[in-house]
Symmetry: C2
Subunit: 345 residues, 2 copies
C-alpha cells in the first residue's frame, strides 16, 4: 500500500508551505505554472484527493468538535475539556480530543487528521514547541479551509480567530499584591521560559505589582524552570544564597507544591517563614500541607466559553464574522500557605 | 437539514437491538421480512448509508486509533493515554480520545462516531453506568463490524477481545498484607460500589489477605463510597464508633488522601495511630503530608500494552485470531503514610 499522502507531506517534499501546496492544487494563479505542475503531478501519483472525500464531508455537519491540547496529564487542560464536554452534551455535539504532547509536528498532524472531514470546528491550545518555533501556518491553513478555530489559554496574536484566555496578568498581579499586603518584601517568581505566553503574562503581572509598590525586580529571585530538568534542583537555588525570599509566587501548582517541599527541606516553615501562592487551583493544591493558596483559573468556564464561541461561528451565516477575545477573570483562593492577615482600613 | 441518522437511533425507533438493525440492513435471513422492510424503508427515508462511506473507508487503513475513557480529570486514565501516545508515535499512528463521562449513552455515541470510518481500532475502558446496566451490545456490534477492540482496566468477561488489566486483586492483597505485617489488626477498606469491577477485585484482594491471616471481615470497617456524595462524610464514620481502625486500605488515591485529612481532623496521626495505603500512585500521592504509600498501577505500561495488542490484531491476517488477556503486575511503593518497620527472618 502506498503511504497516505497529506498536504503536509507534499509541502515537505517540495520545501514549500502547506498553503502553497493547497493553492497549487486549487490551480491558483498566485502560484507559478512550473510549481503547480510539479505539485499536481506528485499529488496525482500518490492519489491525493483534496476535493473529494474531505470536501464532500465538509458540506455536511458532523456534529463533532475537535480539541487539541498540549498535554493530557495536566489538570487544567482536563478541566477545560470537562467544560467543553458539558456544553457539547447539551448541544448534541461529540468531542474528539488529540494531544500534541508539546510537539509542533504532532500538532500539525492532529490538526490535519481532525480537519480531514471529521469535525465541524477545532478548539486548540498551542504547544510549547510551536510557540518556540513561532510557526503558525497550519492554523492559517485550517482557517483558509473554512474550519472555525477557537484558541484558548496559549493563544497567538497573529492568528485571526476567536480566543479565550485567562486573565493571567491580572491573576499574577493579585497573587504578588497579596504577598506584599501580607508583609513580604523579598518575593520570588517561579515561572516558565518566557516564550510560553502564559508564563510571560504571569511574569508581567508579578513585575507590575512589585513595580507599583516600589520594589526593585531582583533577577536572582526569578527562576525560569526548564521542565526537562529537575524542578527541585532549579528552585533550591532560592534557599542557598544570602537573600532568601519571604514570599514565592509560582505560575503553576506543581512548581508551588515542589517549592514548598524544598523550602521545608531547607528548614523553612510555610507560611511562617515563607508564604507561597500558586496558580491554577488543580487537584494537588488542596492536598498539600499546608494546603496551597492559589490563583484560580476556572478551566471549566474557559472550556464552556471556548465551545460557545466555536458554535457561534459554526452557526453564523455572516461573511463579515467578527472574531472576539474573551477574558476569563481569575481570582485568589486563600488556603493555608499564606498567613491569615487582618487588614484594617 | 434532516437529522443525522445512526444505527443506534434506528434501533431506538424500532425498540430493537443495534445488531438487529445491522442485520436487517444487510438483508440477513435471521430477521423477519416484515421487520427488514420497515427498517430498510426508515433507513432509506433518512438516507442512512451503512455500506457506502463507512465501509469504503473501512477497507482503507486510517492509521488512527480511537480511545474511550470514562473520565478525563483522572490521573490514571491520562497516564494510560501517555503510554498509548508514546507507542502510537513510534508506530506512526494518530490517537483520538473520547470521554464517556461514566455514561452508557455517551459511550455508545463515542463508539459509533469512532467506528464510523475514522479509526482502525478502539481501546476502551467501560463506564460505570455501562457496568451497572450490564449492557455490552455496542461492544459486540463493534467487533461484528470487524473493528478490533482492546479493553483495559474496566473490562468485561463476556466480550471476546484482547484485554489489559492491572493485577488489582494481587495489588490489594499486597497492600493489606503490608498493613498486617506492620502490626495493624483493625484494617478498614474504602472502596467503590461492588459493581465497579476494579473495586470488586481490590476488595477480593483485601478479603483474601485478611482471611489468610485469620482476621474476620468486619463489615463496619468496609465503606463503599458513593462518588456523588461527600467522601469526607462517608469515611468519617470510621472514626466515630468504638472500633477505630489502625490501618486503612483505600482503592484509589483521592479516597486515601481524603481519609488522611479526615483522620487528622479527628486527632489521629498518620502513620503513628493509623497507617494508610492507597492505590494508583497518581499525581496527588507524593504531595500529601505524609506522602502516601500506595499500590503502583503502572498506567503508562498498561497503555503501551493495550496498543501493542490492538496493532497485533489490526496487522493479523489470521482468521482464527486468538484473543489474550494481559495482566500488568502491580507493586507497592512505600512512602510515609505507613511505618518503617524492620522485618527479620
Amino acid at each position: 500500500m502506498k503511504q497516505k499522502i497529506t498536504l503536509k507531506k507534499i509541502a515537505k517534499e517540495f520545501g514549500v508551505s502547506i498553503s502553497t501546496v493547497s493553492k497549487a492544487l486549487k490551480d491558483s494563479p498566485e502560484i507559478s505554472l512550473e510549481v503547480k505542475e510539479r505539485i499536481q503531478a506528485f499529488a496525482e501519483y500518490y492519489h491525493y484527493k483534496p476535493n473529494s472525500l474531505a470536501l464532500n464531508l465538509r458540506n455536511q455537519k458532523t456534529k463533532t468538535i475537535g480539541v487539541i491540547i498540549p498535554e493530557i496529564v495536566h489538570h487544567f487542560f482536563t478541566k477545560v475539556i470537562t467544560g467543553i464536554e458539558k456544553l457539547a452534551n447539551d448541544k448534541g455535539y461529540n468531542v474528539m480530543i488529540c494531544v500534541s504532547n508539546e510537539s509542533y509536528e504532532k500538532e500539525v498532524l492532529n490538526m490535519e487528521m481532525l480537519a480531514n472531514g471529521v469535525v465541524d470546528g477545532i478548539i486548540a491550545s498551542v504547544s510549547k514547541e510551536t510557540e518556540e518555533k513561532d510557526d503558525y501556518r497550519h492554523f492559517n491553513e485550517l482557517i483558509n479551509n473554512g474550519i472555525p478555530l477557537v484558541m484558548f489559554d496559549r493563544v497567538v496574536d497573529q492568528i485571526n480567530c476567536n480566543k479565550v484566555i485567562a486573565d493571567d496578568k491580572g491573576g499574577a498581579f493579585l497573587a504578588a499584591e497579596q504577598l506584599l499586603k501580607n508583609g513580604c518584601s523579598k518575593i520570588a517568581l517561579i515561572t516558565t521560559p518566557d516564550y510560553v505566553t502564559v508564563g510571560h503574562e504571569r511574569k508581567e503581572g508579578y513585575v507590575k505589582a512589585l513595580t507599583e509598590n516600589n520594589i526593585e525586580i531582583n533577577n536572582d529571585l526569578i527562576i525560569e524552570v526548564d521542565d526537562k530538568l529537575s524542578i527541585e534542583e532549579q528552585v533550591s537555588s532560592l534557599f542557598k544564597g544570602d537573600f532568601v525570599p519571604d514570599g514565592i509566587f509560582a505560575v503553576n501548582e506543581i512548581y508551588a507544591a515542589t517549592v514548598m517541599t524544598v523550602a521545608r527541606s531547607f528548614g523553612y516553615h510555610v507560611p511562617d517563614d515563607i508564604e507561597v501562592i500558586g496558580f491554577t487551583d488543580g487537584v494537588i493544591s488542596e492536598f498539600t500541607t499546608p494546603s496551597l493558596s492559589t490563583v484560580a483559573q476556572h478551566g471549566r468556564t474557559m472550556g464552556q466559553k471556548a465551545l460557545e464561541l466555536l458554535l457561534d461561528e459554526i452557526d453564523s451565516q455572516d461573511v463579515q464574522y467578527q472574531h472576539k477575545t474573551h477574558i476569563i477573570k481569575t481570582d485568589l483562593k486563600i488556603r493555608n500557605s499564606t498567613k491569615k492577615v487582618q487588614f484594617h482600613n
